[in-house]
């Protein structure tokens, strides 16, 4: 029998611990390289780094009390919009997935129409349409327009994730549930969805992370989220590099936290199967 040995399956003589050490060294080397390039690049531009001016935009001390700066204020708005949009997107997603899998022609057509329209037009255009066109007609405000646009957009993608997860549950599970006399609703809620959720969770996390990032677009309709606050500060201070790096860092912290949390949840869900 021929055995294939791939180089990355080889463990160095020192064992797994030295493998980890080598990985860390490689990582530091890459980061070091990038930093060096950055520093050299900005030196050549003659950019004057003023990191010391950044903290005041995050928080400040007034009368011995910690006060949130504009960036943290913006972050709260981002949280608010992303949180509500995420909840609504899950509702839209699950509903659309169930409609799409139903036997009714109307329901399927409705779901498909929604999916095609949302997935084939840019989010920015949808946002403008909802805010500038639907907004005045339906009398919805800026913040709600933003939440609606984001949740409709991410909901379309979430629905495909839900659908794939539901379809992936073995046919025998439906049959066993039906043969016991369970209603369709009980079958979904007690048998199918609990099994599908494990498979749905990782791609759904990806979608939630996209949502947080896409929420930066709401700055275009003058909502004072994290991104909008950043632009405002830069317009005042010309601290373009420092502020954009800070903002990118904040988004990174949110998304990494989110995926770590979900990873934990997945481990807890992984009882059987």
């Amino acid at each position: 029998m021929r055995t294939l040995i791939f180089p990355y399956h080889k463990i160095p003589a020192g064992g797994p611990r030295s493998a980890l050490l080598i990985d860390v060294l490689k990582f530091l080397l890459v980061i070091g390289g990038i930093t060096w390039l950055m520093v050299r690049g900005t030196d050549m531009l003659g950019y004057n780094w003023q990191w010391y001016r950044v903290p005041q935009y995050l928080f400040s001390f007034e009368n011995n009390q910690l006060k949130a700066g504009p960036l943290l204020d913006g972050l709260m708005v981002t949280f608010y919009i992303s949180g509500f949009s995420l909840l609504l997107a899950l509702v839209f997603g699950l509903t659309t997935a169930l409609l799409r899998m139903s036997n009714s022609f109307l329901a399927t057509a409705l779901a498909r129409g929604y999916l095609e329209i949302i997935r084939n037009t840019p989010l920015l255009v949808q946002l403008f349409l909802i805010y500038f066109v639907l907004g005045p007609i339906l009398g919805i405000d800026r913040l709600f327009s933003a939440v609606l646009a984001l949740s409709l957009f991410e909901g379309a993608y979430a629905s495909e994730i839900f659908r794939a997860g539901i379809v992936s549950v073995h046919k025998g599970q439906w049959e066993a549930a039906y043969s016991l006399g369970l209603s369709s609703r009980d079958t979904y809620s007690r048998i199918i969805l609990p099994q599908a959720i494990r498979r749905i969770l990782p791609p759904l996390t990806g979608q939630a992370i996209s949502l947080v990032k896409d929420s930066a677009l709401v700055s275009t309709i003058a909502i004072y989220d994290l991104t909008m606050r950043g632009q405002e500060i830069i317009a005042d201070t010309y601290l373009a590099f420092e502020i954009w790096f800070t903002i990118a860092g904040i988004y990174l912290v949110i998304t990494v936290t989110l995926s770590t949390l979900v990873n934990r949840m997945e481990n807890r869900f992984r009882v059987a199967i």
Binding site: H170, G172, Q173, E175, A176, A177, Y178, S179, L180, G181, L182, S183, D186, R190, I191, P194, Q195, V271, A272, I273
Partner: protein, 250 residues
């Protein structure tokens, strides 16, 4: 074994036809009646329509024409009738189909609570009793994937029994099992038959068929080729095809 007293008809299947979307005709004017306490064994080559017949009986497949009446309830397009029939007809599948995210106890209890509206305590008591009956009360709190195939199938039987069905359908219940585990499942089925459960059993276990079956149907291409007592079919088949099939699998 003393002669069993059979009751009146509980299942009436009249001229049922079923053609799958791929043009395969699985059932062709298939008619039969099953009496209370009767054990009907159905044999036949693969693709002969025996599983399809079982699946039609509890509405997992829709029939194209004909009628099915179970204990006075017609299996038609009415949702209530369909649910009513599914409550009264238990089914055991070839691949067990246990719910992997629930413990053994919850597998057995779930439908009692959701469909029969029993309290949690009541359902658990019934479930434990049934698990004792199939011989695995000690596995109540384990998850199905920690059980052997034979144990899983016994849980599946307990799960179906928990609904207190009037009829039990067994769709090749031992075909997916390792040989050494077939016996334990057949034993449970044998006990059920002795208690007077009405059963329709699709199987390749001829020893079981002969010992437990009251009547046997040999079918091929969606039709009944021959029907009679198992002894008669084994020792004195009237049709050449029946004898040929039995000689191939015995």
């Amino acid at each position: 074994m003393p002669e069993k007293m059979l009751g009146n008809d509980i299942i009436t299947a009249d001229k049922i036809n079923k053609t799958f979307p791929n043009e395969v005709q699985a059932l062709c004017d298939f008619s039969t009646r099953v009496r209370r306490r009767e054990v009907l064994v159905i044999i036949g080559p693969s693709g002969s329509g025996k599983s399809t017949f079982l699946r039609c009986l509890n509405g997992l497949e829709e029939i194209d024409s004909g009628s099915i009446v179970i204990d006075g309830v017609p299996l038609d397009h009415k949702k209530e009738n369909r649910l009513e029939i599914r409550k009264e007809v238990g089914m055991v599948f070839q691949l067990f189909n246990l719910f992997p995210h629930l413990t053994v106890l919850d597998n057995v209890s779930l439908a009692q609570r959701l469909v029969r509206k029993k309290s949690k305590k009541e359902a658990s008591e019934t479930s434990m009793e049934l698990l004792r009956k199939v011989g695995i009360p000690e596995k109540a709190n384990t998850f199905p994937n920690h059980l052997s195939g034979g144990q899983q199938q016994r849980v599946a039987i307990a799960r179906a029994l928990a609904m207190m069905p009037k009829v039990m359908l067994f769709d090749e219940a031992t075909s997916a099992l390792d040989p050494e585990m077939i016996g334990e499942v057949l034993e449970v089925m044998k006990n059920l038959a002795q208690e007077g459960m009405t059963m329709i059993v699709v199987t390749h276990e001829m020893g079981f068929a002969r010992e437990v079956g009251d009547r046997m149907i040999f079918m091929e291409e969606g039709e009944i080729v021959e029907e009679g007592s198992p002894d008669q079919l084994f020792t004195n088949p009237k049709k050449e095809r029946t004898g040929l099939f039995l000689s191939q699998i015995l």
